[in-house]
């Protein structure tokens, strides 16, 4: 009975649904506020992401005639479920009740599901902008995913374990100092995965209106946005654990600071660059990021991880 209650607590409150929801809202607010201040604006109030979600839930849910309704309804739920499941295995301030041997690989697989769902969403809701946006989403996936996976595997090889909690615990010096190239490639890969500026090519507002999600509205769109916000949280937590882990007395506070620092880096990157074209991203992914990640991997192996 106690185990059932503990499991429910982990799944629904911490570090599961409730905690993730609060973090997702907080991260989106922090991101929007920081970007606004960089641009000389005030930025939204703290309750804005929550208000946006409530508003979307109340809107009409309508799709084009030729769209497949069932698939279109399932895809955002699939995306959200994948992100929530992946979040269960990412330690929060050292607390990882459900971690098991090799869960880094599972997390990386689960995190690639939302991207595929995003692409399928474009195909399923027929519309010119949706299909083209979906194509771009897949092209972007091919450009950044391989360097991203290589960069995230490097701490695993260096620290000698494929369990995230173990990688975190075994870092005596933060990995970001020992494997800086891997951190850089992972950061750029995360920007691509989350489809933030400057890599928001699939949903480029001035070209594709809203990319694959153009035809979504109402509750489905609310679920999409929630899953994207939670993906941000999980991605940031993953980077914090893999590159700046280590046990300490001030674990929760330090964790919060590290997560906010990485979020600030993401926001700064959003502000400083113009959006890339898809061929420029392919060039960046395969000719710059992949060699860097490979180099870092080889150096790590040579160092004897």
């Amino acid at each position: 009975m106690r185990e059932l209650l503990a499991a429910l607590f982990n799944l629904l409150i911490f570090p599961g649904l409730g905690f993730l929801f609060v973090c997702a809202m907080a991260f989106e607010w922090g991101d929007r506020r920081l970007i606004a201040r960089f641009q000389g604006r005030v930025g939204p109030p703290w309750y804005q992401p929550f208000a946006d979600l409530i508003k979307l839930l109340a809107k009409e849910d309508i799709l084009p005639n030729d769209a497949e309704e069932t698939t279109a309804a399932v895809l955002p739920m699939l995306s959200l479920a994948a992100v929530l499941t992946a979040a269960l295995y990412v330690p929060v301030a050292g607390y990882a009740p459900l971690s098991f041997e090799g869960d880094l690989i599972v997390v990386l697989f689960l995190l690639s599901l939302p991207t595929l769902a995003h692409f399928l969403a474009g195909w399923v809701t027929v519309g010119v902008y949706s299909i083209l946006g979906g194509n771009r989403s897949l092209l972007q996936f091919f450009s950044y995913e391989v360097p991203f996976l290589m960069a995230l595997s490097t701490p695993a090889i260096f620290n000698g374990s494929w369990t995230i909690a173990e990688i975190t615990a075994r870092q005596t010096v933060w990995n970001i100092f020992i494997l800086p190239l891997a951190f850089l490639v992972a950061l750029v890969g995360l920007i691509g995965k989350l489809k933030r500026d400057p890599l928001d090519i699939p949903k480029a507002k001035s070209e594709m209106v809203a990319g694959p999600l153009t035809e979504f509205s109402g509750r489905k769109l609310a679920l999409w946005r929630l899953s994207m916000d939670m993906q941000t949280v999980v991605g940031v937590f993953l980077l914090v654990n893999l590159f700046s882990g280590g046990a300490s007395m001030l674990a929760p506070l330090a964790f919060v600071f590290k997560a906010l620092a990485i979020l600030a880096l993401l926001s700064t990157a959003s502000v400083l660059y113009a959006r890339l074209r898809i061929d420029q991203l392919a060039h960046l992914g395969w000719r710059v990021l992949a060699p860097l990640a490979l180099l870092q991997l080889l150096v790590t192996v040579w160092m004897g991880g």
Partner: protein
């Protein structure tokens, strides 16, 4: 590495540390300049009924109703008005002028016909437009 260096970073950091350039109106101040072309008003006692302003208004927002030589009313329609100031320019008697008051939208049709001048033959003068406006 060269690709990631940004020339916008100094300006971005500088802007981050300053006050934002926007004002959260209506919770913050929004003052209009003195010379801002806003609501049209008139000094009723100076009006001679020459209708130069009526003739020159490009939006046909002014009307002069006549009831004889000494009895006339000048009616102004804020919804047709383009706030260009041509009436103020054309008036030779310094009568009609533009204030710097911003004219908000309204759903009340009564406020869209404002009597600026009410000139009666026995010497009684009408208001200068301030009384008849609803809010």
């Amino acid at each position: 590495m060269v690709r990631f260096r940004s020339s916008l970073l100094p300006e971005a950091l500088h802007t981050l540390l300053r006050r934002p350039g926007t004002v959260q109106y209506p919770f913050g101040p929004a003052e209009l300049q003195e010379g801002y072309r806003g609501r049209v008003m008139a000094h009723g006692e100076r009006c001679k009924g020459c209708s130069l302003c009526v003739r020159d208004c490009p939006a046909f927002a002014l009307e002069l109703e006549r009831n004889g030589k000494e009895h006339y009313r000048l009616i102004y329609h804020p919804d047709r008005c383009a706030y260009c100031g041509q009436c103020e320019q054309s008036c030779r008697f310094d009568c009609i002028y533009l204030t710097n008051e911003f004219v908000p939208g309204t759903a009340d049709l009564e406020t869209l016909s404002v009597v600026l001048v009410d000139h009666k033959p026995t010497g009684e003068q009408g208001g200068n437009g301030a009384e008849e406006q609803g809010r």
